[in-house]
């Protein structure tokens, strides 16, 4: 066992040279290559992470947009629904108003027609009644209608109290002693004389009695002296008849329901 110190020295140098050589050709390049690889992988991972984050961000943005879109759509739908509801109500009200207006119009027309009908009916009835009454009285009692009407009217004049008679006389005098007697049809002279005589007797002697025809009187007589009036007519009967007919019509009329 011996140590050759020259060899030792040479081996030390050799070893140091080997250290340098391996550092130059082995450890350095290998370590650098591995570091490069690690960095590249790290970069790739980072890039992947960035892409993932980007994708997540985009997904979040997309979801947000989707939510906003949903909300907006919902809001628009609600608005449209509300508008449609309001429109529907408005249309409904308009329709109801229109229907109501038409109904009122129709009712008004109906009322008018009814009024016209009643007026017409009353007139016709009056005329028919007049004719019928005249015929019936002539055939049954051998009496004229005018004659009977005058008889009743004269009776009514006679039955007036004194105050009324005086008032009429006063009014007649104010009207230049003119007393007007209205009738629907022309009175025969005989009946006119009878009335004149009765007026002279009961109310105002010497008064001038004028006879006029008036369509306003249905079936009867009316005496006017200034503001005072004495009348007899069948109007109350016709009124009663008209009200009965009106009642019957009211039962049939839709407005009564």
């Amino acid at each position: 066992m011996q140590i050759d110190w020259l060899t030792v020295a040479a081996q030390i140098v050799n070893f140091l040279v080997l250290v340098w050589l391996l550092k130059r050709f082995l450890y350095g390049p290998i370590t650098r290559a591995m570091e490069r690889r690690e960095q590249r992988i790290a970069r790739q991972l980072q890039a992947a992470d960035e892409k993932r984050q980007e994708a997540e961000g985009e997904a979040r943005a997309y979801r947000t947009r989707q939510d906003e879109f949903d909300q907006r759509r919902e809001a628009m739908l609600n608005e449209a629904r509300n508008e449609a509801e309001a429109e529907r109500k408005a249309l409904h009200q308009t329709a109801r108003r229109d229907v109501e207006q038409r109904k009122q119009e129709w009712l008004r027309q109906l009322e008018n027609q009814r009024g016209e009908f009643l007026r017409d009916l009353r007139q016709r009835t009056t005329e028919h009644f007049y004719t019928l009454a005249r015929q019936a009285l002539a055939e049954l009692a051998d009496a004229g209608l005018e004659q009977q009407m005058v008889r009743i009217f004269v009776g009514k004049l006679a039955s007036l109290d004194q105050d009324t008679k005086k008032k009429i006389a006063v009014e007649g005098r104010k009207a230049a002693n003119v007393i007007v007697v209205h009738s629907r049809f022309e009175l025969p002279p005989k009946e006119q004389n009878r009335i004149t005589k009765e007026i002279h007797d009961q109310i105002l002697d010497g008064a001038e009695v004028a006879y006029e025809m008036s369509s306003g009187i249905s079936c009867g007589l009316e005496m006017k002296a200034g503001g005072q009036t004495v009348s007899w007519s069948l109007d109350s009967y016709f009124d009663s008849l008209e009200s009965r007919i009106e009642k019957e019509l009211g039962v049939l009329s839709p407005s009564s329901g």
Partner: protein, 234 residues
């Protein structure tokens, strides 16, 4: 029989003899350097790489991991020294199976040279890491009276390092030589295989011990606790 390759002299010039130790060391150096150079000429930094590059990376990473395990430090500054120790010793020992090759590690001169390198490297790393004062204070721990023992320990472990490697490798070679004379053909082959194993183990031990010594010199406190014990126990 020549026990040490120092005695095989190829060329003599004055006192300097170009012996088998130096020549075979050059051969190992050439093999390592050329191999490394050839493989690292075209390195790939992608996932696709040549098997040889893969082998080198496994070796370098493995050595780095061992250094990190022992030193608990970044292996980058220790890798060239410790790694070269391991590779040189391992390749020398493995090449022992090549007929005619005398492993330089079977020469006490080589192991002494390596041990001296470790002996010098320990304070260099220690000073670089902790400064001169911090490093030298290690020798008077725990008391000044321990200085001579610490110095003796430093020297003795260096000697042990040299002798251990030399003895193991030389003995392996000698045993094979003796066995060839006694039982030719079969038994020497078994011993050669065993020699490969012990050669690798010796390379590992030498490198790890060197790292332990350096780590104990660079560690501020933990190293001091391990220092004397690990040095002598191994």
């Amino acid at each position: 029989m020549q026990i040490t390759p120092d005695q095989v002299v190829f060329w003599q010039w004055g006192d300097f003899a170009l012996n088998a130790t130096i020549v075979h060391t050059w051969a190992v150096m050439a093999l390592l350097a050329a191999g490394a150079r050839i493989i690292t000429l075209r390195l790939s930094d992608t996932e696709k790489m040549s098997p040889w590059q893969n082998l080198l990376e496994v070796v370098v990473v493995g050595m780095g991991r061992q250094i990190r395990d022992v030193s608990q430090q970044d292996p980058k500054q220790y890798l060239p020294f410790i790694g070269t120790l391991f590779l040189f010793i391992a390749v020398s020992n493995i090449l022992a199976v090549v007929p005619g090759f005398r492993p330089p590690t079977g020469s006490l001169s080589t192991t002494t040279a390596l041990a001296i390198c470790v002996l010098v490297a320990v304070p260099l790393y220690g000073i670089a890491e902790r400064g001169i004062g911090g490093y030298l204070r290690k020798y008077i721990q725990p008391t000044v009276f321990m200085l001579p023992f610490n110095l003796i320990g430093e020297l003795s472990r260096t000697v042990a390092l040299a002798i251990r490697l030399y003895g193991n490798v030389m003995s392996g070679t000698v045993i094979v030589a003796i066995l060839i004379g006694l039982i030719p053909f079969f038994f020497p082959v078994v011993m050669q295989v065993l020699g490969l194993l012990t050669g690798l183990i010796q390379a590992y031990i030498f490198a790890i011990l060197a790292m332990v010594y350096i780590a104990s010199a660079t560690h501020a406190h933990a190293g001091e606790d391990n220092d004397a014990g690990t040095g002598h126990r191994r």
